[in-house]
Each structure stands twice: as C-alpha cells, then as structure tokens.
C-alpha cells in the first residue's frame, strides 16, 4: 500500500481513498458489533450466564438488533439542554476515535497512513475525545451528567500524561515515532525481542493508563452506573447514545491495536519457525488477546474511587514512568551506543 499512498492526489485517487475509508469504517463497525457480542458472551460465561443467544444463530445478530433499535428510537433532546453542543458532542467524541485508526499498521504491506509522527498523532487526537464527553455532560444540563463529564476530564488529563511518558521508552529503543518503524525494530525472530520485556515497566503503566483512557472498569468513573447513574450520557438516547458507545468501542479497537504495535511486536511471529503463518494472523491473535483481557478485567474488578484514581495517576504512574524513561536512557547510553 506504501507506494500507492505516495501517488499524486488526483480526483480518481481521492475517490479511491474515500472508498477505502468507507470500507474501513464498515470493518470497524463490524468489529464493534462483534466486540459487543463477544464482551457480553465472555462476561456472561464468567458470571455463569449464557449471554445473548436468541437473535440469530448463537445470538450473533443480537447487537445488530440492538443497534437497529437505537437507530429507530425517538431522538430526545432535553428542553433545557444546550441544543447545539448537545448534538455536536457525540460526533466530537467519535471523529477522533475513528481518525486515530489511520496510523495503525496491520502488516508490513497493509496500512492506511505512513506518518512519521504516527504515535504523536494518535496521542494528540485521542485526547480530543474528552472534549466530546465534557461537552456532552455539560450540554445535557443534568447534574449527574455534569459530574460524569467533569470526572472524565480530570481522569483523561491525568492519565494522558503517564500514557505518553510510558511510551517514550519504546520511542527511545526504536528511535522513531513512526508505528511501522517501531514494529520493525521489534522483529528479531523471537518474542523476547518485543518491547514488552525490555520495557516491562512502561508496558504495565501503558496498560493501566490505557484502561483508564478507555473509561473501562476499574476506571469507569465517568459513567459509574451505581453512583452517577450513567454519567455523561445519561440524557442521550437513540442514535446519539449509540455514537458514544461506538466511540468507546472504537477506542477499544484502537488501544488494542496500539498495544499490539508498541509492545507485542505487531505482525511479528513469536518464534522464527512460525514465520510461515501470515503476519495478519499474528496481529489478530495478539489484538484479540488484548480485547479479551479488557473484558476479563471488567468482569473481575470493582471500581476505584476518584481521589484514589488521581492519586494513582499523579503519585504512582507518573513518577514510575519518568523513572522508566531515565532507566531506558541510561541503558541505551551505557550498552548500545
């Protein structure tokens, strides 16, 4: 795909690119549909339930039916809500979620944008989604939504910092912000060449901060249903609500893919003799494992408290991630140079 991306931008090429984006959007929607199905099934099994099994074979069409229901549902906007912002917020939450996917490389050949600041692009855009959530909470003119939105803002800002610093070690090791280069730097045949072992501290911090960025258990405070009812999207229904859910699951996709790329060696096989298996399969396996882990965490953990969350972010994760950067730099200086 590389050379083709570098062609001159004609009308024809623009159309093709647009069509690719549409295809990709449908792939992502398909992922979200079945991620939700998978999540419900996995958590169902963990909780001694069956999960959805009525609509379609094995309940495969349950999420489709749910989305269809959301689409045809009456679109309600509270009378005292700030109409413009209320309508804008779901879109604002979703657009960055979808745009960050552009820089993820799936295999050596398959990628959609070869940005030399790919990682920076990802981090910068994903921070924007907070805006959508805060706006949604504010515009609803609901106290629970406001509290949820504010919590979300505090949480996202606090965890963005360790998230970014935790990947600095990876950047130091591979010497690039380009995600393709980062994956290639991890290829060495064996799985211990992947970043998650040399960068074990960074990896741990990244996972914690990532779960927090996703607003998922145990960090799901913005929508803590037992305290804030549903948090920032309490007033949303129908399609607008679907957009919030969609962006949440697209971020699951994005974070799972990013973790695979940064720490789990992307499309590389774990051992040289397994090279005959296509890279795409390896990528998908690792990706699925991360997604599964997120669901697993959700089924097992209670929720953390706001002050504890902030304490963890600023007092533990940030210093440790800085230490990680320092250690990595010292290591590079002493042994590699």
């Amino acid at each position: 795909m590389g050379p083709w991306l570098n062609e001159a931008m004609t009308w024809g090429n623009a159309l093709i690119l647009f069509l690719w984006a549409v295809v990709f959007l449908f792939i992502v929607l398909g992922f979200v549909t079945y991620a939700i199905f998978f999540e419900r099934k996995v958590i169902g099994w963990m909780q001694l339930r069956i999960g959805p099994n009525r609509v379609g074979p094995f309940g495969m069409l349950q999420t489709v039916a749910d989305i269809f229901k959301l689409l045809i549902k009456e679109d309600t906007i509270p009378r005292k809500a700030d109409r413009v912002l209320f309508i804008l917020a779901p879109a604002l939450a979703y657009i960055p979620a979808f745009s960050v996917l552009a820089v993820i490389p799936y295999t050596q050949k398959l990628y959609f944008a070869d940005l030399n600041v790919g990682l920076l692009y990802y981090v910068a855009l994903s921070g924007l989604s907070t805006l959508g959530i805060v706006l949604g909470g504010w515009a609803s003119n609901n106290k629970y939504a406001l509290l949820g939105g504010m919590r979300s803002a505090a949480q996202m800002i606090s965890y963005e910092v360790p998230l970014v610093i935790s990947v600095v070690g990876v950047i130091l090791l591979s010497g690039s912000l380009n995600l393709r280069v980062i994956v290639e730097a991890q290829s060495g045949g064996w799985f211990w060449n992947w970043n998650f072992i040399p960068q074990i501290i960074g990896f741990a911090i990244f996972i914690i901060a990532a779960v927090s960025e996703l607003n998922r258990t145990p960090f799901d405070l913005p929508e803590a249903e037992s305290e804030l009812v549903a948090g920032y999207h309490v007033e949303y229904s129908g399609f607008r609500f679907a957009f919030f859910m969609l962006s949440e699951y697209v971020y699951v996709y994005a974070i799972a893919a990013l973790t695979t790329v940064l720490f789990l060696g992307g499309w590389n096989a774990p051992a040289p003799f397994l090279d005959f298996v296509p890279g795409m399969i390896w990528f998908l396996l690792k990706f699925t494992f991360i997604v599964f882990s997120l669901f697993w965490i959700r089924a097992t953990f209670p929720r953390i408290r706001v002050d504890q969350l902030m304490g963890l972010g600023w007092k533990v994760l940030l210093p440790v991630s800085l230490l990680n950067v320092f250690l990595t730099a010292v290591y590079l200086e002493l042994f590699i140079k």
Partner: protein, 366 residues
Amino acid sequence: MIRTEELLLNVGPQHPSTHGVFRIIVKLDGEVITEATPVMGYLHRGTEKIAENLNFTQIIPYTDRMDYVSAMTNNYVLVHAVETMMGLEVPLRAEFLRLIVMELQRIASHLVWWGTYLLDIGAMSPFLYAFRDREMIIDLFNELCGARLTYNYMRVGGVKWDAPPGWMDKVRDFIPYMEGKLQEYDKLVSGNEIFLARIKGVGQYDAATAIDYGLSGANLRCTGVDWDIRKAEPYSLYSRFEFDVPLGKNGDCYDRYRIRLEEIRQSLRILKQALQQFPEGGETMGKVPRAIRPPVGEVYVRIESPRGEIGCHIVSKGKAEPYRLKFRRPSFVNLQILPKLLVGETMTNLITILGGIDIVVGEVDC
C-alpha cells in the same frame, strides 16, 4: 474569581444504588458532600394502620412485605410477640423448623447484601455468584412453603407446613456447599486491593455513637460492642447452640463486611447443630385457641434479624385485632446515622456508606 456555587443533587428516589425508592438530597461542593437530607416514605404502605383492622393471622403476610429480603424473621417477631402475650407453648419440632428457616434466611439476606454491595462498588460478577447461592435457599423455602420471597410460613403457635420428606437432607447438603462457596468469595473479593481501598476506613464511627444512635446488627458490632440478641437475650432455641458473635474494631465499612461474611459461617454452624438435634416426629402446631385474642395489655419483643434488632410492640384490648401494632424496624433506625456519616464524604463514598448500612426500603418505610 470564578463564581462557584454548591450543587444540590437529588440522589433518588429512582437511583440504582439506593436499593429501592429512597432519596437523599445532597449538597455538593465539587464532589464533597456538605449536607445530606434523607427523604423517605415513598414505600410507606401504612402497615401499622392496616394491621389495626386485621386479626393476627392476617397480619403475617404483611410482615413478609416489610423486609422482603428477610421475611422469615419478620414472621417470627410477630408470632413470637403474640405467643409471648398469650403464653402459648410452641411444639419443639415447630420451633426447630422456625430456627432453621430463620438461619437460612439470614444467610440468604447476607448473600443479597454481599452481592449488591459489590455491585454498588462496581464489581459486577459477585452479584451473580451471590444470587446463584441464594437461589438454593430460595428453592428450599419454595419447597417448604410454596413461596420464594413472601413466605407467610409461621403461625401463632407453630408453623404452617411441616418439612417435606427429604427436605432436611437438602439443607444438610447445602451446608458444606455454602462453606466452600464462602472460601471462594474470600479468595475472589475479600483481598482485592481496590475493594479494600474503597471500604477500609470509610464510614467510621465509634461505639458510643453507635449506641447513641441505637444501631443494631453488624452496624453496632463493627464497633466492638458485643450485642447480638441471639446471645444477649436468647429467644427461640438459640441458647442450645454454640456459635460466636463476630465483632469488629474500627467501625468502618470493612468491619461490617467482615462481620456479615462471618455471620454466614456462624449461621451454618448453628444450622449444623440444629439439624443434629432436630426431633423425629412431633407436632408443627401447638394448642392454639380458635380465635387468637391476646389478653389486655402490651408487649415488646425483639429478635435479631439480619439487619439488626427487629422489635414488635403490640397493645391489645383483648380483641382479635391489635389495638396498636408498632414494628421497630432495624433499617429505619440504622439509617438515622447516615446524614451524620455523609458530611465531608464524596459522592462515591455515599454509595459505599449507604450500602454498608444495609437497608431494605420496604422496612424503612413500612
């Protein structure tokens, strides 16, 4: 300067974590509560007024609906009050059956609390595990008296139904099963760092405050006050059995949590002994006059329900209906301390503290 103001937030009456239609008006400064006013009565059905026009057997189903998580103990406190007044003898077999169902009920009630409390704190799965195990008790009750929640099982002078054949064996099998599950609960939840961080030191009060506010049950014992009515003022057959009263030290949500789990263990211990001593044969109804007319006078009896001291105050004028019937509901009395505990806490702790008190709104509002 940015203009700031306090946020007045209505938590409830429809809220997932107020366990029914209970409402607290909180004043929030940021997320910190500066004032909390509980508002109740949304589930007030006037049980005490209705009871003045019913005879005692007719009142029993109403007691089921007060604390619907622990209907058996409510049944017992009413029939026990009437029996005390009339000086009725209850056959041994009936009393054993009552005791067994009450202890099973205590386990079931604590399981519901355990599950919903963890749900409040944000852990979803334990809720389903707790309900799986509670379901076994509910099935036992269902077999015994045909109802799953509102049993209407006890009568003045005895119990309505004898245990069906094989029922006792099922209870016997349930005990080791539940003991195993308790260990599983401990492994799964009791050591979880996040959970401990959420409940340790939260909602703390000392023994003097607890006594002053008339708290009872685990809410009192978590401060180290050794007061379990089953031990302190034994009723029914409790003096026959060996069991411990688990006590706390710090008076926080964590101690309350530990006590309730330990009480399940102790209830299993009582059940084991009760099954050993269970008499072969015998009546399930004592000699009761056709019309139940307690003599003129009044009585106050109290027993230990899963939530604390449930009491029944009957004033009788020698009629079939009570002149005045008042229930001392532990949920109602325990809840009084809530506004005091909430000041200075965050929204998140509101849920932790309210859940830790363990209320049933049907009983608060009566």
